[in-house]
Symmetry: D2
Subunit: 368 residues, 4 copies
């Protein structure tokens, strides 16, 4: 119910504003006995960290995570393990520039949540977007790192959750060229080497123009057994859709074929099943690994669309808090495409949903 929590048996509660002293989360429901230190979390935060290329915001944040509770070690147990109690994670904000925010204090930036926050709360922390800032997603990435540990602890080391950018602005990749190894070699998390040069040139022009573009991210979970999820309102895909849609700037979510499925016939969309070495093997994965809300044992494939960054240099017509018409120009350190840094966030959300469903499944069914 809490507006700032998600998950049930694996449950994450985040807190913090862009320009407050810190942000963080409490991760509850983690099984005991899993080795966990900051070193398990930091690499995922580093992946999301701003300022790593010219294509993301130049804000400098070390994003060093601290574990404040929930793990234990002593001389007999030198590597800390989870104890089953809540894990509190904190990341201090370091680069909150003491700039003058008077330009956005009273002016509603179109596309941002300034207007709707004010309509709801009447007061808001406008510095850097406050609670609506994507800095909040750092806490999700940290929680996602713990979710990954749970998945591999219970399901084994072959579980993987990986994301890639499959569309940058109007430019889509060719799925036939997909190469997971390529994803880590370019600043876009692009899975096809062919697209990188084009994307670089395109995004450079967008950036120099002070404009922005959107993107589509695909997240794939491998090694997830059949049976996770539940029929009606506990559908695995419904929880993935919700989780993705909670990420800033996301406007669409798809599972498997997604919207393309609408144009197919039943024959085209069917994932036929054969036996290979006695085990079920699907001939295709139009379903994205989920049937009736329950995982089928295939890869779980989901995508989300991110709108273009609303912070642009071109003046946009808007109004002020006290009812004056004006124009707004958003200067400052912004990502020309927030979709890039959304890749590790999408992975984290997928990991959290799967960890939660894994524990819920184990609760009702008893085995995995």
């Amino acid at each position: 119910m809490s507006h700032n929590s998600f998950g049930h048996l694996f449950r994450v509660t985040t807190w913090g504003e862009s320009h407050g002293p810190a942000l963080g989360c409490v991760v509850d429901g983690v099984p005991p006995g899993i080795q966990l230190t900051e070193a398990d979390i930091q690499p995922w935060l580093d992946k999301r960290r701003p300022g790593q290329s010219k294509f993301t915001t130049q804000r400098k944040e070390p994003d060093q995570v601290r574990i404040l509770s929930g793990t234990f070690s002593d001389d007999r147990l030198p590597t800390p393990v989870t104890t089953g109690t809540p894990i509190s994670l904190m990341i201090e904000n370091k680069d909150q520039r003491s700039k003058d925010y008077s330009d956005i204090r009273d002016t509603y930036r179109p596309g941002h949540a300034d207007f709707s926050y004010d309509a709801k709360y009447g007061v808001r922390d406008y510095r850097g977007g406050g609670r609506q800032s994507a800095r909040e997603t750092a806490a999700r990435v940290a929680a996602g790192a713990i979710a990954r540990k749970i998945l591999s602890h219970i399901l084994g080391p072959d579980t993987a959750i990986r994301g890639a950018l499959v569309q940058l602005g109007p430019h889509r990749i060719d799925p036939a060229q997909w190469d997971w190894d390529e994803v880590g070699r370019n600043p876009f998390w692009c899975p096809t080497a062919d697209a990188v040069n084009e994307w670089e040139s395109y995004l450079n022009s967008v950036r120099k123009a002070g404009s922005s573009c959107g993107a589509v991210i695909e997240v794939v979970a491998t090694g997830i057994p059949a049976g996770l999820g539940a029929p009606i309102y506990g559908k695995l895909d419904a929880d993935i859709a919700q989780a993705f849609m909670t990420i800033n700037a996301v406007k669409g979510v798809e599972i498997g074929n997604g919207f393309d499925a609408a144009a197919l016939s039943g024959e085209e969309n069917a994932d036929e099943i054969r036996l290979v070495d006695g085990a079920p093997r699907f001939g295709s994965n139009n379903a994205g690994g989920i049937l009736g809300g329950i995982s089928s044992g295939q890869d779980i494939v989901a995508r989300f669309a991110v709108k273009p960054t609303s912070s642009i240099l071109a003046p946009v017509k808007t109004i002020t808090k006290d009812g004056q018409e004006t124009d707004v120009v958003t200067k400052g350190r912004h990502d020309p495409c927030v979709g890039i840094r959304a890749v590790p966030v999408g992975e984290a959300m997928m990991a959290c949903v799967l960890a939660d469903h894994l524990l819920r499944h184990r609760g009702q069914i008893g085995t995995v």
Copy 2:
């Protein structure tokens, strides 16, 4: 947490299988003092009822709803009103044909949840799909009718939640021709008169071929004030996405521009704001009425994609429960496009999400 409940302050719990004696739901959290009889619910069920045209399943179900609790009337209060206690709704199943189900008892129909249900539960009611049947959505439509009553009770009579089919198979409507009055005049809930003949001809050919097609449904909520929703995991759009994705066969969800937003620039996607008679007025609605997870006062616009019906006459390769390869042909009474009957279901889910957020907003903020 419950797998068969959704919502928080306004909370719906559904139950029932396709071929059990009945199905229904318990609707909790309804404010007291709202006039409510079966006559407020039945028209919405009638809209969803099967067998009304040759384009939907020929199963004959009267779908008569009974209110078993939660309302009260006496001689001083002749029209029943809600009492604030849980409203139990029941719909008896009438047309469960006593056919032989041995063909699907042991054979996993591709695209259906037979395989994944069995992987999870080990046992299932296979008759007519059991709990995975779209008959469950009758209970949602009934609950949605109550949600509509809450919305109009609190927000006034100008609140409306309307849906339409905007794509049938590969055929999309032209949004510029949209006419809400047309929606009720054709068997497809199609909002453009121009498309109806084409759609009729197309779906007739699909139906006669024993094939199926998908669809895209758009749901629009009008008269929703700014401020509903919450920043992070209580985002209004996230809850809509989850709610739509819980509907059978849905594979994608969009808010506002949705996936098209990915290809736009920040300038193109901005919804500029002006003042008209002193009130904020947006120049466009690319955001679909939701900014940062909170309603902006514009129309809330959301879409979902439905895959083609998996039940088709063409044989599909599959396996049996006991590990034999086989083919399956699905005869019986099926919708060639389940998207048509998904329109009132999508409306109902939107109504339920909005009613829940309205009560949650009132709880935290105190006013609407």
Copy 3:
């Protein structure tokens, strides 16, 4: 969150008023593959059923339960088993006398919830108490029967949840004389044969005077393994306390020594531990089987106090809905001591809490 649901992984939602057509509940989260028919539930309802002795209300209700969903059988599976989907239970009300309720329609009966319901809702079903009637507890007893099945399915047949009346009005039993076999032999669920005559004579006089008395009920759960519960807000004893306090007329709850513990020293209250055949064995059970909110493997022992029935023949000063002072005399069919019929209800609530915690434990920890 729902006001009419309790539990998390094992979750019960009840509905229905005293004089409506029926009452019932939806039981969600039940593991699949457990044999279940009405015959598993009916005996517990019979135990709670009114009109079985002169010491309980003379309302005649057969309280026949029907399972409307969530189980399945066919020719290969002749005994129905749970399928993991929600189980809907319904009990029709048969003996709603068409009496004239005008005496309580506008008059607030002291001790009843008439006044507070009206203050909250402004409207209420006053017939027989409506939703505040203890008839709602029939649904709990039915749900509790399913919870018992889960416990024995997972923990084995030696699990038992048994209740007894340990105090009737001012008359307490001698715990040293406790005999579980005696409990079923008298109309009071009294565990000591010595007390029965005294209680019978006492309650007869109370009944004939049109008066009422309170009671204390003890519920003991045997065969519960160590480890159920959770440290802080998921404490097993906190959930038991909440569950008992939701039963009509309950004003106090104790675990183990309860209030008597306040007067003891640490030495007196300590439950020492020894090893017997290599297994931990506690020398006493002052803790009531729960340490730090987590079960210790001892019997779980909890008590609740029931206030005297508020419906009495003596006139009581009160006011009417429209602000007039008056006296009220409550005639009709009432239990002189509602504590007697609260015994099976307390057992059911204990069973529900334990089933929920068992599934939650299995979810986080993985084994029982």
Copy 4:
């Protein structure tokens, strides 16, 4: 669902172990626009802080609270106000003595949760009790301070939640001598001046003997309107019972007359109602201000019993983790009666439950 959260619309999630770097909580659902600084919280923490008299543990903790998120101020708004976003509170642990914990590392202290934690989790932070330590209650007291702000913000300044110790070991106060002003004048929160000398002498002897005793605490909420709570599982008293039972060492909870009600007749227990100046006025408050789970507008009166501190100097028989019989003697800095410091904790829990129900009521009903 989360084991470390409580409340629904007003929701608190706590974290931290006794000897970790810090402890804290996230408070979600707070209405916006309420003035809040550390100075609003610190006095309540000071009331609970250890080491203030010889009757509480000599551990020295400044318990300085920091607000890390959820409030905002600028030059136009000099006093910080809540923004409706989650409030993160942190209290650093300062006095974690680097003592040798080998004595309790492997030995289960009877009455503590060592045994049951190990049975559940297999691993635990044994230093100072880890998560089972009553230090966690500092976070509750901080959250309770915010709950009080909500209550007075919505209900006005006449709302008060006050607690007192009504029994110390075997010594009960005389309720007829109750004086709220006396409560703050003695180290026991005792409401009757007459009892203080006796209690002081008694607790001194207990303390010198290295023994301990229990206590009973009463918490009274004044100025709460009629209508808070809900009929069945959302009963206000049930949530109070649960909240109190989550406090360390609590073994019993009562509302109004509590267990004494069992021995009364219906006539004795009735709270008659008259009109005074046109408003309902109850002649007594046996119900403790709650009827049918809903507040009646009277004072809400609840009590809880605390067992004697389990940490005592006398040797107690127990076993070790690896299955050896041994004796344990608990030295160190302990409260001879934890009931004293439980008074502000009980007040805080009452405040949190009431704030949550107030927001829930406002959500369903619309007004207070």
